[in-house]
């Protein structure tokens, strides 16, 4: 591996270099195979402790991190804090300090407020993985999306990606916009004017377009990402009704006619069937929603491995198959 990921934390995609992202994806690829074995476990993080500190409810992401840690032989502990620090009486930092006193090797943090993982990273000692903070970033989601795209399209560079829906409140959209544009894709975002403000075009230097109609964003797209309507993040009405949303911004089969012929459809889940995505698409052949979930484990294994101090010898040779030819080919494409 020519590029190393030498950061202490994974807080967001925005601050990463393209080479670091590629290295994370390459590492994830090597881990993907472990989940296909009968004995789904390697000793890479044996004796290490990973704490999943979730201040916001989550099934998918928490389970994914937990399985990833366990498949690397780390001891995974889940801590769910259902209320915000203020109402609970203990502050975010006190909670984290208490956990740090138990010497974890990595803390995975999910929080409803943007910046909480950054604050923890600044104050504490343990490596922090951002598992989603408010409307800010969700870096492992973007990585698993990229891994899925690479798996099916063989590359990221040069692809046209449409992101549809509530971009304003979406940490998934932000992380994906950063990642995809850094790796050379063109991203078009579209949704209701209240959720896709025109200023979004300034989020990144190049490669991002803001459209009003989802049809315009989907035109010629190789990848269509549909965002979840996050009712819990909307403090007031951003659109008149679910019915109207489904009619104007929900992805339906006819939209895909103008996409690239082999376009793939993704969704970070959980899906609101019949609202942002029609069931025919969610369950159809172009949908990669479950592949995304599978790749999520591989990506999180890679992230934990790189941050929680796994050493290369632990995953070498017989314990972990060397990379397949496919990976080598992909490298050429990246140039």
């Amino acid at each position: 591996m020519d590029r190393v990921f030498s950061r202490k934390h994974l807080l967001g995609i925005r601050e990463l270099e393209a080479g670091e992202i590629t290295h994370l994806l390459d590492t994830a690829e090597t881990f993907r195979e472990i989940s296909r074995r009968d004995i789904k476990k390697v000793p890479a993080l044996r004796g290490r402790t990973v704490i999943n500190l979730f201040f916001e409810p989550s099934t998918r992401t928490r389970t994914s991190f937990e399985i990833a840690a366990k498949r690397l032989s780390a001891d995974a502990v889940n801590v769910s804090v259902s209320t915000s620090s203020v109402s609970k009486g203990e502050t975010l930092l006190d909670t984290a300090r208490n956990l740090e006193a138990m010497s974890p090797d990595c803390i995975v943090v999910r929080h409803s407020m943007a910046g909480a993982p950054q604050q923890l990273a600044r104050m504490g000692n343990a490596p922090i993985v951002n598992a989603g903070d408010g409307s800010h970033e969700h870096p492992t989601q973007a990585l698993l999306d990229a891994l899925t795209i690479r798996e099916h399209k063989g590359r990221i560079e040069g692809l046209k990606v449409a992101i549809i829906g509530d971009v304003l409140h979406s940490r998934v959209a932000r992380s994906n916009i950063h990642l995809l544009t850094k790796l050379g894709a063109t991203v078009s975002i579209a949704g209701p004017g209240t959720m896709v403000p025109a200023e979004f075009g300034e989020l990144v230097e190049t490669g991002l377009r803001v459209e009003k109609r989802i049809e315009d964003a989907i035109e010629g797209a190789d990848v269509v990402m549909v965002l979840r309507i996050q009712r819990e993040r909307q403090d007031n009405a951003f659109f008149p009704s679910m019915r109207e949303y489904a009619v104007h911004y929900g992805l339906r089969p006819q939209h895909l006619k103008n996409a690239a012929p082999d376009a793939i459809v993704m969704h970070p889940g959980p899906i609101n069937r019949g609202i942002e995505i029609a069931s025919e698409i969610a369950d159809g052949s172009s949908s990669l929603i479950l592949d995304q979930v599978t790749n999520g484990v591989a990506v999180r294994m890679a992230v934990l491995y790189l941050l929680a101090g796994g050493s290369h010898s632990d995953v070498d040779a017989d314990k972990l198959e060397p990379r397949k030819n496919k990976a080598g080919k992909r490298k050429e494409n990246r140039g």
Partner: protein, 443 residues
């Protein structure tokens, strides 16, 4: 007690003085300006101000002291101590204490506490509406008798234009300036930073500049309707500076102030989610900062005010969304204001206008903001060349919430005289000498 401030360069725009002069003060009042090198009046102590600027005492129109109610953040004494250390001889205390200063009893309490502290002059600002709830008018007349110098619902701007109109009309009857924190809550609700590229990057809810603009424009329109003197607090947006500029062109009694952090920092400073960059109005984008500098240059902006807003470290250690708005400012404002002088945006004379002459005029503070004969002997002594680094550990405030810790500054207030008493002297400037020394060092 008689003090001769000798060999300094005296800047007093109110009387058009911008020259090397000695200043004689006695018993809390200015005796007069003397030609340099004259004999030291009998019994006078000499403050050797060689190489220093002597200005009328600086007046901060916008200070939050947390007493009564939140003494763990700041007391009147600790705030006044920070004030004089920062060169402010006078501070005007915003009414958002607990209880709110909406009654003569609270007003008198603040004044008594300030008298006990014997540091800065502390002039209370009364609430515009009872409890600053924006519903019923507060007892402005009674508070004026007790000593308030202006009225404001700072931090909780009156949303209802009809009530604001009545409040302005009523305040106008007592000659009280209405100070308004311009922010339309329906546009800014839930916001924690400036709305723009950086709020989108950080995923934090934005407060659009438009929230400030529409409110400032509303207030200018109401100033025209009511004839009341309206002072727009801490302008931070291009739109509100433009609104004040237009109002002045129309001859309306509208003034405004700017806080140093708003021209010094931009919203990008929030990139690490440091809660010491969270304040309201928020740090804005570069375009807005340009507008503030234009306003300072062309005189649209009348005053520099600190918006000193102390908060305990534990409160600022919360999540960005949860942390309270505000930063301390009394000890950093003058250093940051000197940046404007060194960058050529304003000259020294204008600096004194912004920090003393105009604030006195805006709140109608009689015999202050000038060093004419018989004015109050409030003096701020400045060293434009003083190079220093702000260390929050040395702050006199009880709170530590500043984004300027470790910042290099050039230019400082090195001594502050309030009511004829030297209440602050930078330890590096031991200039109080006797007459003999002064005569020896005089040209």
């Amino acid at each position: 007690m008689k003090i001769l401030i000798a060999n300094g360069y005296l800047v007093d725009p109110a009387q058009g003085v911008n020259a090397g002069k000695d200043l004689l003060i006695e018993d809390g009042r200015v005796v007069g300006l003397l030609e340099r090198g004259r004999e030291v009046p009998a019994g006078a102590e000499v403050f050797d101000a060689t190489g220093l600027i002597v200005a009328p005492g600086f007046i901060d129109l916008h200070t939050h002291l947390r007493e009564p109610g939140q003494e763990y953040k700041e007391t009147i004494a600790s705030g006044a101590s920070a004030a004089v250390a920062g060169g402010w001889a006078t501070i005007c205390a915003m009414p958002n204490t607990d209880p709110v200063n909406d009654s003569p009893a609270v007003t008198r309490f603040i004044i008594e506490q300030a008298e006990r502290a014997q540091l800065a002059n502390v002039f209370p600002i009364g609430a515009l509406t009872k409890g600053s709830e924006g519903k019923e008018l507060a007892e402005m007349g009674e508070m004026k008798n007790a000593g308030i110098v202006a009225v404001s619902d700072d931090g909780r701007p009156v949303p209802n234009a009809g009530i604001m109109r009545r409040a302005m009309e009523y305040a106008h009857g007592f000659g009280l300036t209405v100070v308004d924190h311009c922010q339309d809550a329906s546009l800014s609700l839930g916001g924690v930073m400036h709305e723009g590229r950086w709020s989108l990057i950080l995923g934090l809810k934005g407060m659009p500049a438009a929230a400030e603009d529409v409110h400032a424009i509303r207030d200018c329109v109401l100033a025209k309707l009511t004839g009341a003197a309206v002072h727009i607090a801490h302008v931070s947006s291009r739109g509100s500076v433009d609104a004040v500029r237009r109002a002045k062109e129309m001859g309306l009694p509208v003034t405004c102030e700017v806080a140093p952090h708003h021209w010094t920092l931009i919203d990008e400073a929030l990139a690490d989610y440091d809660t010491n960059t969270k304040m309201s109005p928020p740090l804005r984008s570069r375009d807005h900062v340009e507008a503030l500098l234009e306003g300072l240059r062309d005189g649209t902006i009348d005053a520099i005010a600190t918006d000193h807003a102390p908060h305990h470290a534990d409160e600022k250690a919360l999540e960005f969304d949860q942390a309270p708005f505000g930063i301390t400012g009394l000890e950093t404002a003058v250093g940051l204001a000197f940046d404007l002088v060194h960058q050529g945006i304003i000259d020294l004379e204008r600096l004194v206008r912004l920090c003393s002459t105009n604030p006195a005029r805006i709140f109608g503070l009689k015999d202050r903001g000038t060093l004419t004969e018989n004015a109050h002997a409030d003096v701020t002594i400045l060293d434009p060349a003083c190079e220093w680094v702000f260390d929050v550990a040395t702050s006199k405030s009880k709170s530590r919430n500043t984004p300027f810790h470790g910042r290099s500054m050039k230019g400082a207030a090195v001594a502050t005289i309030v009511g004829g008493r030297l209440v602050y002297l930078n330890p590096d400037y031991s200039r109080v000498t006797d007459a003999k020394h002064r005569q020896a060092s005089a040209k």
